[in-house]
Amino acid sequence: MSTDLPKSEKPAVKFAAGDFAGDRPPGDMRSAALDAWQRVRSGDLGATPAILGLLGLIVLFTALRPETFLSKGNIANLFTQALPITILAMGLVFVLLLGEIDLSAGVASGVCAAVMAKLLVDAGQPWYVAVLAAVAVGIVIGTALGAFVALVRIPSFVVSLALFLGLQGITLRLIGEGGTVPVRDDVINALANKNMPVGLGWALAAAVIVGYAATEFLRWRGQHARGLAARPIQFVGARVGVVTLAVLGGTYLLSQDRAPGPIVLAGVPWGVLLVAVLLIICTFVLGRTRYGRHVYAVGGNAEAARRAGINVTRIRVSVFMIASTLAAISGIVAASRLSSVATNSGAGNTLLYAVGAAVIGGTSLFGGRGKARDAVLGGLVIAVIDNGLGLLGTKAYLNFLITGVVLLLAASIDATARRRRSEMGR
């Protein structure tokens, strides 16, 4: 080793060729396809399993119950059935992104709905006061849960299990043994039971499509113009195409007259609009804001996030607050759908369905991976299973068994993908 070289000749080391040799210029189809294949091989399947599963289930149930499953009335039913699960699951995505769990989200939605119902019925408050109170209760529950997890450092499944029991007690106390409180408020009931005018539905669908296409193409053009890594335009086009098809198809199906009698019953349920708005907000927050980036970072490597100056405690508390807030909204929608709140609202398999929806949609139970749209895809899958099995007239016990198996299947895909990722690295 020569130690007497003048400083300018110091670099005795040569750059190792090939370490970044996998690099390719961006934007061409072949390399993008290779990238996609690489991702799939490393276990990053994205939305593909959920979409394929959804299509497969639809084909299956249509074959088994051709006259009822794809009937216009049932399709609308399916969408409203998916609403509360989807909203609950969207909140859980935030918690799952940190690798935490909130087992109390289901019963929290029940408590919030009970608070709303009591205010509407017993106190005679207007709907907006009742809704605000329900959401406030959700925020309080989430803050308490988050504080115990982030500050006292109790594992989230223990804290939320305790809340799972405690909150059921509160619902029981509010509603009274074995009782139900009917919800007759027009605005609340409209959420899941009334539809927007057909014309408005089409207009909003068009707005969503144009908005989505514009953001995607403008982003692509910006990346392209500045020489940044961009997917090939064909990929962007395909994505926009799939979304367009889904939105137009859904709007078309929901715009058909589904009343058996002479009265016209058609249009997109208002609740679908609510889910769409929540989806857009959550997608923006997670994907385009500093806060969302920090949620992913804490979920990926909390220590690294802390060293990067991120307030990990604050992020931890906040995701539980978001989950409980969305749980409150989910409880309101569920109350709207059934026009009542019962002592068992949000109990039973509600939480299992919501966690299942998030995981089936592609959110990882191990943290760091997941998107708001997973809740929508997974929520639809769960609703199709629940609805289809109902039409088949399967016994309740089978229903539980099948849903449990589906959740296990999704979790297995998730765990396998994670193992493949850690094998691929290095």
Partner: protein, 252 residues
């Protein structure tokens, strides 16, 4: 000789409870130079580096940065001064891509939305300035990268900011031959760009390949800080293992 060292420590002590880890340590790092910090396991290298980076404070002693006395109380304070530490365990988020990791905690945004384009451009510019060929793949997730590539990302992250001092705690510990060379090359380039670089390493070949000066710690004391060209392999090994070598090291 550069006039003022970027970093100057004098008479630094550090204890953890009853355990005194650093005794009267002195250490300097100059702009445009790689200073190797060597010492056996437990000699106190990481403790010294954490003190420099504001992870914990020194108990006693002088800490000058660019000639001014400073006292960083957190990694943020240190970063504000222009001190970046690449820790022994890399502290990258595997689920995020290269750009996202490089800007973690210091994201750029306009309004409430992240400015992805600006961050990607800055990250790509830094990487190409350091001659890291990553064209078109700065959007790769860290989980897809090799150990050497990860180390490269961690180092490039330190170079992204207007840093004056970059400290690398055993950057090549877990790397193969080719990847070690790549990282050393990168370390050299940082110094050639005018930064003061501190490199902790147990590998004498690395130390002699890349450093301008070498400082040795022995049981928490500085036993020597000399120009690398003025010492031999053997002398450095002796300093590490016994705290002295010929006329180097403290008088008995």
């Amino acid at each position: 000789m550069p006039a003022t060292p970027v970093l100057e420590l004098r008479g630094v002590d550090k204890s953890f409870g009853p355990v005194k880890v650093l005794h009267d340590v002195s250490f300097t790092a100059h702009a445009g130079e790689v200073t190797a910090l060597v010492g056996d396991n437990g000699a106190g290298k990481t403790t010294l580096v954490k003190g420099i980076g504001g992870v914990h404070a020194f108990d006693r002693g002088v800490y000058r940065f660019d000639g001014r006395p400073v006292r960083p109380r957190s990694p943020r304070d240190a970063a504000a001064l222009g001190i970046e530490i690449v820790h022994q365990d890399l502290a990258l988020c595997e689920n995020l891509d290269i750009v996202e990791n490089m800007f973690l905690g210091r994201e750029r945004s306009h309004g409430i939305a992240l400015d992805e384009a600006a961050m990607e451009e800055a990250a790509a510019a830094t990487l190409s300035r350091l001659s890291v060929r990553t064209v078109g793949s700065v959007r790769r997730r860290v989980s897809e990268l090799s150990g050497g590539q990860r180390q490269t990302v961690a180092i490039a992250r330190a170079a992204l900011w207007d840093s004056r001092l970059v400290v690398l705690d055993e950057p090549s510990a877990a790397l193969g031959v080719a990847q070690t060379q790549q990282v050393l090359e990168l370390v050299r380039r940082l110094a050639d760009r005018g930064l003061a670089v501190v490199l902790i390493s147990h590998n004498m070949n690395d130390v002699f390949a890349v450093s301008d000066r070498v400082a040795a710690l022995y049981l928490g004391r500085t036993v020597a800080q000399v120009r690398t060209a003025d010492v031999t392999h053997r002398q450095v090994v002796e300093l590490i293992t016994s705290g002295r070598s010929g006329d180097l090291g403290p008088r008995a």
